[in-house]
Symmetry: C2
Subunit: 351 residues, 2 copies
DNA sequence: GCAAGCCATGTGTGCGCAAACATCACGAAT
DNA sequence: ATTCGTGATGTTTGCGCACACATGGCTTGC
């Protein structure tokens, strides 16, 4: 085969037409007779034409604007990581005429989501990356985007009803199973295991339910071996009452381990366990937040499951850029590996 | 600030010179008077000029050739993954005038490495990605490359003496510590733990030593709690003798867990444990090879540590491409996270 | 029968840059 | 004084493509 790249010019020459006609074929701009169309298509396929993407983006002097709609990173450490991923990707794609604008809503305030969504719409973005944590509000907004042909990718949580271009996140069911397994492996004895939902807001109820199902299923499969799994909800935790309830929970001498589904609930539980000196109870939870890391190092938390929020958003921007710039097809869903963090591999994740 | 990108033309205009002069400054091509140089530098800094990398690579119609020197992927599943990463990256960068040529040497044959290295050199590559598993031979060859100003990146193993542009791999010491920790966590009792080196060839002796040190150190820190760590070498394993030796090892009733440092040694050990029904001994090892995955699923292996060979090579190519194309600075070393694989998160790594 | 319209196709320009090429002034050598 | 070299600078071309624009023939309608 010929080593040189085939250009539009070459195709035109081989088909006996001008570059303009080839261009029309490549972009479906019509006004091409069926015969020449067929001829050009033939040559195109035969020579395996691949557009030079550099020249393409250079030539079409388009600017793209991506709006990122995420919770305020200053209010929550987890979202700060998401935000960092956006910043990183922004940097990376700035060369390609891609600009990213961030819109931060209040994690605890549905109304602020709706308000910001309106702002996003007003900014006339070419695409949107969002964490649609308020289901109803998100559904409304992204239906509107759909109508206006604005593509969007979701990360962290999904709203499948509005069919995003892609969902980037984790398999929560499997995540619950993993949590269960880690407790199981690190105890190697039958007993009672609990999954705790400690949250201040309801927006991630769906995740929690899925995690719970995975957790329960895992132990159900071991049912005949004396394992018992229980699930407990602590919404809107006021410190004193929560502590009393947790204490009640731990009166069960068979209690072997806890999986805490929310990252903040985790370090609350950890502090509790530490305070009461319950070293015999294994503790597993989510996310590399500062306090969780501290408790992991101390040995109060045994395993952390990492969601890689930074990579989620960076990939989201990257996908959108590729989609718009290069018409790349992107996967319908991209579920990240469930990464297990312990004391010994923590630093290798250099957070 | 002005929204528009500043171009060379703009800089030239502001400095009252022509684009040619600015170009000379940007590329250190000399022939610029000190005054104009200073003036241009000033404008450059003031306007924060950033070259349009698309236009740059388009304009300088350079082709780059990267040679990848790795063990024959058909002889070993681990290296097949490395090779897959190269293929993937090749695809990704083909648009940017970057071509990758692969050179496969025999993993068990130093001479073939030297021979292939010569071929690599003859191909006059602009850069090299290599796994320098034969220390001496690699040292010789890359000294030559160094003299000829051919940049190179190492992955998997390192030869720091020849100062590669970057080393991509894992922290083997920490990896040994992690292996120890996983055994420790999944037994929660004092006893004897062994690190086993089972290998057919000596080339990765350095890794093994580092892993061993980490392993031993971990348990040393627990010494007062009745932990004991031993290390055993089984080079050139002939199945019968190896089995006998392993059997001898397991007569110690206190034996709680094994860390096997080589991926092939791992499934040999697993088959042995399975055969003798030693379910009480925890087994930890390396790499997502087909057989290891089987034993993980069966529960014979408890944890696998993933080295992500595919991502190592893909990143290596990516680094070299960025280095040559965009003059991007790349890190001196990039140590990958130590990823822990269990039955429950295995599928989320979609190997 | 001739202008208007339209379809199929060809041509030109610019994206931002690298690099070859051109100019020009000034001083040294003949 | 004329030539030549050289350092400093300006000008042009082309990379491969998108897209606006131009052309030219052929069909309509009156």
């Amino acid at each position: 085969m010929n080593d040189k790249n085939v250009r539009i010019k070459d195709i035109a020459q081989l088909a006996g037409v001008s570059v303009g006609t080839v261009d029309r074929v490549l972009h479906n701009r019509g006004k091409v007779s069926p015969e020449t169309l067929e001829k050009i298509m033939g040559v195109l396929k035969k020579k395996g034409y691949k557009p030079n993407l550099l020249a393409r983006t250079l030539g079409s002097n388009k600017k793209f604007f991506i709006a990122a709609l995420i919770p305020d990173p200053t209010l929550d450490e987890y979202w700060a990581h998401s935000n960092a991923g956006i910043t990183e990707a922004q940097e990376e794609w700035s060369h390609y005429n891609i600009k990213v604008g961030t819109f931060y809503f209040n994690l605890y305030d549905k109304a602020s989501f709706a308000k910001l969504a309106a702002k996003v719409f007003d900014s006339r973005p070419d695409a949107i990356l969002a964490s649609p944590i308020f289901h109803q509000e998100a559904m409304l907004f992204f239906k509107l985007c759909s109508k206006n042909n604005i593509p969007y990718i979701f990360f962290n949580s999904n709203v499948p009803e509005v069919e995003p271009l892609c969902f980037i996140g984790q398999d929560f069911y499997q995540s619950g199973r993993l949590g269960a397994e880690l407790l199981d492996l690190s105890t190697k004895a039958s007993g009672t295991f609990a999954i705790l939902h400690i949250y201040e807001d309801i927006h991630n109820a769906i995740h929690l339910a899925q995690k719970e199902k995975g957790f329960i299923d895992y132990f159900l499969e071991k049912n005949n071996q004396g394992f018992k799994a229980i699930s407990l909800d602590y919404s809107h935790p006021q410190e004193p009452s929560l502590e009393k309830e947790l204490l009640a929970l731990l009166t069960d001498p068979k209690m072997k381990g806890l999986l805490v589904t929310t990252s903040k609930g985790l370090f609350i539980t950890a502090s509790f366990l530490e305070k009461h000196g319950r070293k015999d109870i294994r503790l597993v939870g989510y996310d590399l937040l500062r306090e969780n890391i501290e408790y992991l190092k101390k040995g109060v938390i045994d395993f952390l499951i990492h969601q890689n929020p930074k990579r989620q958003t960076a990939l989201g921007i990257s996908y959108l850029a590729n989609y718009m710039l290069f018409k790349k097809t992107i996967p319908n869903t991209d579920l990240f590996p469930l990464e297990i963090i312990t004391r010994q591999n923590l630093k290798t994740f250099n957070i």
